[in-house]
Amino acid sequence: MASTQIGFSEFMAARWGPLYRTAYLLTGDRHEAEDLLQGALARTCVRWDSIRDKGAADAYVRRAMVHAASRQWGKRGREVVTDEVPDLGHFGGLDVRADHLALWAEIRRLPPRMRATLVLRYVEDLTEAATAHELGCSVGAVKSQTHHALKRLRAALPDLQLAEETS
């Protein structure tokens, strides 16, 4: 069968789910995740013809999400850790183990940049250098964000005995 090479609509249909999940980890909120992903996909849609390597479109969208989220971090000014986790109601929809749920609750309390660092390092499996490139910061900043994220999580959940992992 001759068919068109994968077009944007096909790409979006196939990758909406996985990309939404990444957006959800980045934002910690289902509504923000949907908004972030829609914006990144809209940017990708209008640039689709200029993306030569369609196989890299996933990474393109992810980068667009990280950049868009970064701009929001800047608008919010100083990142403030609060005791309130937004979108608590969604916890009921997550079918995960209790210890994962507890740790996820603390990860969501992390400042967005720290959380994004963990997502890129530990879920997207990017190197420290690649994570730094995605976040637009130095490798040192990635190491620092990771270190402080683990420190905060250890403090919040002392029973988990989190150990730092080197790259």
Binding site: M1, A2, S3, T4, Q5, I6, G7, S9, E10, M12, A13, A14, R15, W16, G17, P18, Y20, R21, T22, Y24, L25, R30, E34, Q38, G39, L41, A42, R43, C45, V46, W48, D49, R52, K54, G55, D58, G93, L94, D95, V96, R97, D99, H100, L103, W104, I107, L118, V119, Y122, V123, L150, L153, L160, Q161, L162, A163, E164, E165
Partner: protein
């Protein structure tokens, strides 16, 4: 507990997150806004460039003699006539090649689906499905709309010459050249990614599924789906990690080849022509044997134009080149050079 626990937790949460359906109305609104924003940014940039060019020209005119205006572009050039009829797009318009040379038309075009029964089928930038009659030597006739309205997706089954579309109302419809009427198929239960006569690949939040008579088979995402094709009861499934071939009737995997491939199945489904890592190859879909083809350093938009002939575009520093390759002799011929770099077979 180590940082591995964070990885496990994040991945568990990722997998458990309930994915909402796409709000297509909201998304269309976002796309329109993004297009407006981009157009405004380009206009602003163009104004700035024009102003700077005018300023430079003003300075130059005072100190340099006036030279004749240089040529503004290098014309596209036909290098060789194709063995098989081929349609492609240059600067948003259809070009048809045949034994009688190339015909640059004024027909707006975006995706060329292929030629069946001397009718070249394409979609344009507005989603219109258009047919252009073509003679054996490549001479095009007057184009005509094959279906009112726009289509969201279109596929051509070269095996039996059936055109499938998902129309504006989300209906799957089919038509064969020579038939007077379109047939509306049973409504798809999910987004359709690939369609041919007897098989479909559906795409949903849970991933992609091969659907055939009595068969539903989940397909691996393999780090990201990059493409696929159905032909001759074979499914080619391209991901960022592997190229896999399946028997589309039974779902049985026939072969797999490592690497990120981009290509197309031959009409009988026995061969796959594609590009990976800067080389062009023909792959036997039954055992995965890879045989390299000499000529271009990579092709995209690969499309089969005959039983043993396929075409594809090579991007070069000088623009784009259309190649025609033979799967039996494993050789390629340069057909058409496009300095503008807008040459494409599919968007």
């Amino acid at each position: 507990m180590s940082a591995t626990e964070i990885r496990e937790t994040l991945k568990a949460v990722r997998d458990a997150a309930v994915v909402p359906t796409v709000d297509r109305v909201a998304f269309a609104r976002r796309v329109r806004a993004e297009r407006r924003r981009r157009t405004a940014a380009r206009a602003a940039a163009a104004t700035a460039v024009a102003a700077s060019v005018a300023a430079v020209a003003g300075v130059s005119a005072s100190v340099l003699p006036r030279d004749p205006a240089p040529p503004t572009s290098v014309a596209a050039a036909a290098v060789a006539d194709p063995e098989q009829l081929v349609g492609f797009v240059v600067d948003g318009h259809l070009v048809v090649g045949g034994s009688g040379g190339y015909h640059v038309t004024s027909v707006p075009a975006r995706n060329v689906l292929g030629v069946v029964d001397e009718l070249l089928v394409l979609t344009d930038g507005t989603g219109a499905l258009v047919g252009v009659p073509v003679a054996a030597d490549g001479t095009p006739g007057p184009e005509r709309r094959l279906l009112p309205g726009a289509v969201a997706y279109a596929w051509l089954d070269r095996g039996d010459g059936t055109v499938y579309v998902v129309d504006e109302l989300g209906r799957l419809r089919s038509w064969r050249p020579g038939d007077g009427r379109w047939t509306t198929q049973p409504s798809p239960q999910a987004d359709l990614y690939l369609v041919d006569s007897g098989h479909q690949v559906e795409s949903g939040p849970g991933g992609a599924t091969l659907v055939a008579d009595g068969l539903r088979r989940a397909l691996p995402s393999g780090g990201g789906i990059t493409g696929g094709g159905l032909a001759g009861s074979v499914l080619a499934w391209e991901t960022t990690r592997q190229l896999r071939f399946y028997d589309a009737d039974t779902g049985r995997r026939l072969a797999r080849v490592p690497g990120q491939w981009s290509g197309a199945l031959s009409t009988d489904g026995r061969s796959y022509a594609g590009s990976q890592d800067g080389r062009v190859s023909v792959v036997d879909t039954r055992d995965g044997a890879v045989t390299d083809v000499s000529g271009p350093a990579g092709l995209d938009g690969v499309a089969w134009t005959g039983d043993a002939t396929f075409v594809g575009r090579e991007r070069t520093a000088d623009g784009a080149t259309l190649w025609e390759c033979r799967a039996d002799t494993l050789s390629c011929t340069r057909l058409y050079a496009d300095p503008s770099g807008t040459l494409q077979l599919h968007s």
